[in-house]
């Protein structure tokens, strides 16, 4: 059995940053990636807008990935396993994987960082009614086929969901000569960035309809069209107002789910809100020595935040192996009024600062974010506007923590 201080599962932005973080603390690192190159989904995100926070400049996805990949590959103490599919992870931190070049790989890890990312919700996941013809893709699948493999998946397109991937693909398909007839969004607002609505839809006169969903699809071998209808306040489609739109392609941008299948059978405590593990500020899960970061922990909107979070997880995983991770009492961090979830869900008492990341449950203007500990206010922050699609953060002083922490918004 091979031995490494820190084993990282997943070689996307989270895994690469975690590897560099672990190296900062002198650990030996194994990085396992199932694709044939590092970079993850960044490799197919050829649009720009990455790295404004982390590097202070605007990069495309492949360029952002390259910055990390070059550093990872030039470090002799990071052993990269490509085309390595991790099959199991035990609480004793034994990782088993297979790869075409090495066969079965067994590693005893000192600590493990989970960096598997997330997967897209599919037609089945949203119980899409109608036939099952060709031409229905998740937006990310279409993005990979287009940007990496070089195939345009259709000519006349309807997109369900106005998350950033849906918006980006609306522009991408248009640039490649397809006609995007409609972007339908079931919510009364978009979870995508304003900038993407302006530059991906408005620039190309692509219509966006809110409170609208696809009710069923038609077509035998290939998709021939979709029915769309507005939804009422209870999110139920108003079928009397159903409208038929002929098209050969439907792209789904209907949500992302952290891919935590590997944790099945372990005692790692999971959050029902994020679908990721419950972690402390070091991004350590309830299973000692197992850490989690990036989209496998909670779905991010900016890769910059993924890198920052994974760097913390990687450093902490290395410190754990050295026995240097501070132990102290933990308090819980719970969301209330207006806050859907906050992360980390646990914080240690002690010195220093900790950044709490959170998402609100709807669009708020002019609200104040309040953090309390043991019932006393320890931080207040006024905000202009907060939207569910934009992750917020607030920094608190750990020395002020005297008991359980609560984060909420008020008028």
């Amino acid at each position: 059995m091979k031995k490494f201080d820190v084993v990282i599962i997943g070689g996307g932005p989270a895994g690469m940053a975690a590897a560099l973080g672990a190296r900062e603390e002198g650990a030996t690192v194994a990085l396992l990636e199932r694709d044939d190159r590092l970079g993850g989904i960044l490799n197919q995100c050829i649009h720009n807008g990455f790295g404004l926070h982390y590097f202070g400049e605007e990069l495309t996805g492949p360029e952002y990935a390259k910055r990390f990949r070059d550093k990872v590959l030039s470090d002799q103490n990071i052993h990269v396993f490509l085309e390595a599919m991790v099959l199991s992870l035990t609480e004793q931190k034994v990782v088993r994987a297979i790869s075409p070049t090495e066969g079965l790989i067994e590693i005893q890890a000192g600590s493990v960082v989970l960096a598997m990312g997330c997967r897209e919700r599919s037609a089945g996941a949203i119980a899409l009614a109608g036939t099952r013809p060709a031409g229905i893709y998740t937006a990310g699948m279409a993005q990979r086929l287009c940007n990496v493999e070089g195939y345009l998946v259709g000519k006349e397109v309807v997109i369900l969901g106005s998350g950033d991937i849906g918006l980006i693909m609306a522009r991408r398909m248009t640039s490649e000569g397809a006609k995007v007839k409609l972007v339908a969004e079931i919510m009364p607002f978009s979870s995508g960035l304003k900038r993407n609505i302006v530059q991906c839809l408005n620039d190309y006169d692509i219509p966006l309809r809110y409170s609208t969903t696809v009710t069923r699809v038609t077509g035998k071998e290939r998709l021939t069209g979709v029915y769309v209808a507005p939804v009422d306040e209870k999110m139920q489609p108003v079928l009397e107002q159903e409208e038929y739109i002929p098209c050969d392609t439907l792209l789904l941008s209907v949500g992302l789910i952290p891919e935590n299948d590997l944790l099945t059978g372990t005692s790692v405590e999971m959050s029902r809100v994020t679908s990721g593990a419950v972690v402390d500020e070091y991004r350590q899960t309830s299973a000692e020595g197992i850490f989690s970061a990036g989209n496998v922990l909670h779905v991010h909107d900016l890769v910059d935040n993924v890198s920052e979070e994974a760097y913390i997880a990687g450093r902490s995983a290395a410190k754990y192996v050295k026995g240097e991770l501070p132990f102290s009492v933990t308090v819980s961090v719970t969301p209330a009024s207006g806050v859907r979830y906050a992360l980390p869900q646990k914080v240690h008492t002690g010195e220093g600062k900790v950044k709490l990341y959170f998402r609100v449950d709807k669009v708020y203007r002019g609200r104040t974010v309040v953090v309390t500990s043991a019932g006393e206010v320890i931080k207040r922050k006024k905000t202009l506007v907060m939207a569910p699609g934009e992750m917020q953060n607030i920094e608190i002083d750990k020395s002020l923590i005297k008991g359980d922490v609560c984060i909420y918004t008020e008028e």
Partner: protein, 115 residues
């Protein structure tokens, strides 16, 4: 012209008008919105990212190395669609200097082995 300000998450709805050579912005919440509205009205610019096909197969992702006028985007995309790259390039290599007189160079954003 109606547009949405993208300078911050507020997303102010802007109305930009020109009267007698003077451009006015209404609806902005701060000075950045006024500047953005005026720029969008008189000379909107975008960085363009797209793909080029390799002459012998494969694709390579590219971008303009600076923003180009919005009304040049369609021409540039048409140029990109007909272009065939016949040699290997590395990230950052200039593939074409100011094609369709767009004012920016097209550079590779990923490595391409030539096929």
């Amino acid at each position: 012209m109606n547009t949405t300000c993208i300078m911050c998450p507020m997303g102010c709805a802007l109305t930009v008008e020109e009267k007698g050579g003077v451009v006015t912005v209404v609806g902005n919440g701060c000075p950045r919105g006024e500047k953005y509205g005026k720029a969008e009205f008189s000379h909107p610019e975008r960085v363009v990212t797209t793909l080029l096909k390799g002459l012998y197969g494969g694709v390579v992702s590219v971008k303009t190395d600076g923003p180009i006028p919005k009304d040049k985007i369609a021409d540039l995309l048409a140029w990109a669609a007909s272009y065939r790259l016949d040699h290997a390039v590395k990230t950052g290599d200039v593939i074409a200097e100011s094609p369709v007189s767009c004012g920016a160079n097209v550079v590779a954003t990923s490595d391409f082995k030539g096929k």
